[in-house]
Amino acid sequence: MSTVLTTPGDQSVALHAAGLGRRFGDRWAVRDISLDVRRGEVLGLLGPNGAGKTTTVRMLTALIEPSEGTATIDGFDVRSQPDDVRARVGILTETPGLYDKLSASANLEFFGRLYGLAADVRAERIERYLRLFGLWERRTDIAGTFSKGMKQKLAIARALLHDPSVVFLDEPTAALDPEAAFVVRESIEGLRRAGRTIVLATHNLDEADRLCDRIAFVRGGLLRVDSPARLRGAHGERRLTVRLAAPSHPALVTAARAVAGVLGVEALDGVLHVEAAEPAEVAPAVVRALVAAGAAIVEVRVERLSLEAIYFEIMGVRPSAGGEAA
């Protein structure tokens, strides 16, 4: 009988990692990953190719052993209780990895048996997930005849078959055309609504923004973990844009700069860019000051930086036409 080792008393935590790292030879693929994932939460692992996302997923699913640190799934340790961990996680690997000569239902039947599901449970779940992903009518078709999107959905069904505590999706839409990627994303959205605990490794910013409750930025280690909204609060929403009916003049810049909380003002033709720690809070006072100084205001907007801009800021890189430059 296996023993639950960690997260005592906190049943809301499905995944716990502390100082997790993995070295291949002399090179560390990833180090110092420390995070918790709560039940029903969707955590994004966001980072460029080679950032260590897949290595992190493999450690958390007990596929490879960590070189340092610990991690638990439902309290079971990935290092000392790998079989218990594997029984509690579902994984969609980078490639679907289906048996192309077997039918969709035969693929699921095989994995249902590997996970020790009883015959009636197997049959019920195979039908449930094939219907959920719209593959029931194609259940007897050979998987090799499926489109990429269908294969990916079948692979997700395979990952869910044994009702895992945590589902790991490693680059689920990579190498898919936009239509197939949309279908797969919709499927993940459905799982999110159903309250599944999901770890989504991706380098697709829009996908992470749309699907994740929190995003962990990974690049050889954990750079930051936060919700998309809080990330924007911390990195993005620092600027107020005021569009004027006429070109700006120095008196308006002076008036805006005098408002408490304003860090700086930049004028560009008929637009004022007002830097502030809390732009939404200073907005009314800025508007009053500008109107008092004679400005005719057309539009006031709190600038929301894209997740892409936040990503580059956190990763410490700035892309150029010739490639990435630090």
């Binding site: 980078e94 990895g97 289906l98 000569k101 020790g116 692979a155």
Partner: protein
Amino acid sequence: MRSGIIWTLLRREWAEMIRNRLLVSTIVVPPLILTVAPIVLGAAVGERALPPELSAQILAQRPEWATFSPGELAGAFAVQQFLVFFLLMPAYIPLSIATFSIIGEKQARSLEPVLAAPIRTVELLAGKALAALVPGVLTGIVTYIVFVALASIVYGPNLFGVVTDPSWLAGVLLLGPAVGLLSVVAGVIVSARVNDPRVAQQVGGVIIVPVIAVVIIQATGTAIVDAVGYALMAAVVLVVALVGLRIGVRLFDREAILTRWR
């Protein structure tokens, strides 16, 4: 090791195998030829006598054939050469299956989801090894049984006695399965290192060389391998296979599969 898991793996391997036409033809066609060819040749050669010097040489090594007619002696000599093919079958069939299976999984990247399931690496290896070994050994034995049944009809009692004497039984029932196991081990080791099933079969096929050496020894009349000789050869091959299996288990390490199989 859990037998249920291994049985699940076997079923899956065989379900894929029967859908691979090339592999199926590799398994089915040669046994058909090998069953018919010795029967036809034995019957045809049995009509003629061997040159006197060769007959004398054979009888010196096989005094138990002294009562044979000249035609039967020629037939017995011809049929005896086919024993080696019943040893080759358990060698090449498992090699073909193992290489197709492992390299097929490498190419499809289908092992990672399996390894993510609560399955032990040794169970996976056992499933793959048995999936390759069982058809090879069974094909060898079944082909032999069919051959013996046909021989009992076509051949006279003396030639039937040749193909059912202890040396044939030891060869087919002891050395054949041992060679089959060695073949699987070679398939596993080679497939872990290369990405083309044909290359794997060519490299793995090197293990057939010692079996061919037995043929040459017998055909040239250099020495006659009796039942004890085949049993001893089976023991040696088994030891080599078990040593190879230890190497194979290491190469089949979970992490190596995930991080190095590309």
